[in-house]
Symmetry: C2
Amino acid sequence: MGYCRLMAVDRDHVLRSAADLLTRKATATMDEVARAAGISRATLHRQFAGRDALVRALEAHGIAACGAALDAARTEEGTAADAVRRLVAAIEPHAGLLAFLYTENQLFEGEEQNAGWTELDERVAALFRRGQESGEFRLDLTPAWLTEALYGLLASGAWAVSEGRLARNDLTHMIVELLLGGALRRETS
Amino acid sequence: MGYCRLMAVDRDHVLRSAADLLTRKATATMDEVARAAGISRATLHRQFAGRDALVRALEAHGIAACGAALDAARTEEGTAADAVRRLVAAIEPHAGLLAFLYTENQLFEGEEQNAGWTELDERVAALFRRGQESGEFRLDLTPAWLTEALYGLLASGAWAVSEGRLARNDLTHMIVELLLGGALRRETS
DNA sequence: CCCATGTGAGACAGTGATGTCTCATCCGGG
DNA sequence: CCCGGATGAGACATCACTGTCTCACATGGG
């Protein structure tokens, strides 16, 4: 019947519009999410058991997108700086979703977080560590902090864009240049 | 009677513990806030008409703290880079509160934000602009973006500290060095 | 000592969101 | 043509939080 394929398509569409809306208004209601997706609350509830399930699906989606971005950026190849540039360029389209998930994780204390994040953190940190070992990056900023800073700048950038304080086209450049400018070892004056 | 002074002291104590708690768990209940402050929900409600009033009081507190930090940092004196160092050092103690307020502002769409923020934004941006005009800072990163990035790094840093991924003592250094490393014009190679 | 003030404990209704349900409708395939 | 599956609309109970209230207590000053 292929109804599975159709449901998957719808599911993706719902996830996409939910990400869009929740980026702008993190406290959006299930009803608002449904309306934003052009479906009824009942149908939304048929596809996602509840708000938790929706958020967890968004989380899985975001983790997958980050993983794909890390793959696409080929973080093992070339200079670490160029790899960071490719990585930010690849992740930037999902900055809004990331910003939502980033704060959502801060919203609750304790509450074990999805293990996928740990792995992503490790892959990103490994990139910064490689840059340190190759002599490109400063040693006084830890890979863990640079990773955290990358998330923070992505989130700040996404919000600045959504509030019109920053041009979407400049987002990648602004993030990369600020991050790398700090992470790159400065010429020994 | 002096009961005004006493109430003010209690109020500050409540604000402080509320800031502490809300930094870790932004969705904390009025009951949790009260318990964290060691008072009953009734008393909390007597001091702050409601959750909105509490958040707005925290916002005013945060704005005042930032304003004081800007004053204390004497952002008009010396090199812009040193001024940024002083500013971050002065603001860092309030990073947790700032992180809470920063996301709280993103939580709702529309909802005019407190005018105090605009003024603070302007003062911070002016500092970065001064650095650009004096030739210290790069011109391709706009003052508005640098301002936003400062907030983002403060928030990221505060969370990283509260989750044990970053030592509190390193916070200022990590933020300043990453931010300035990017904002400082690099030596013409 | 007595009283006033501030407080804690708890009851209470109101509110908004959630999750579940039913039912009418629509649409595509047999 | 008819029927099964999916949908939208809406009713409904539930739940957590809020904001308001009352009452008992205890603490400190007159």
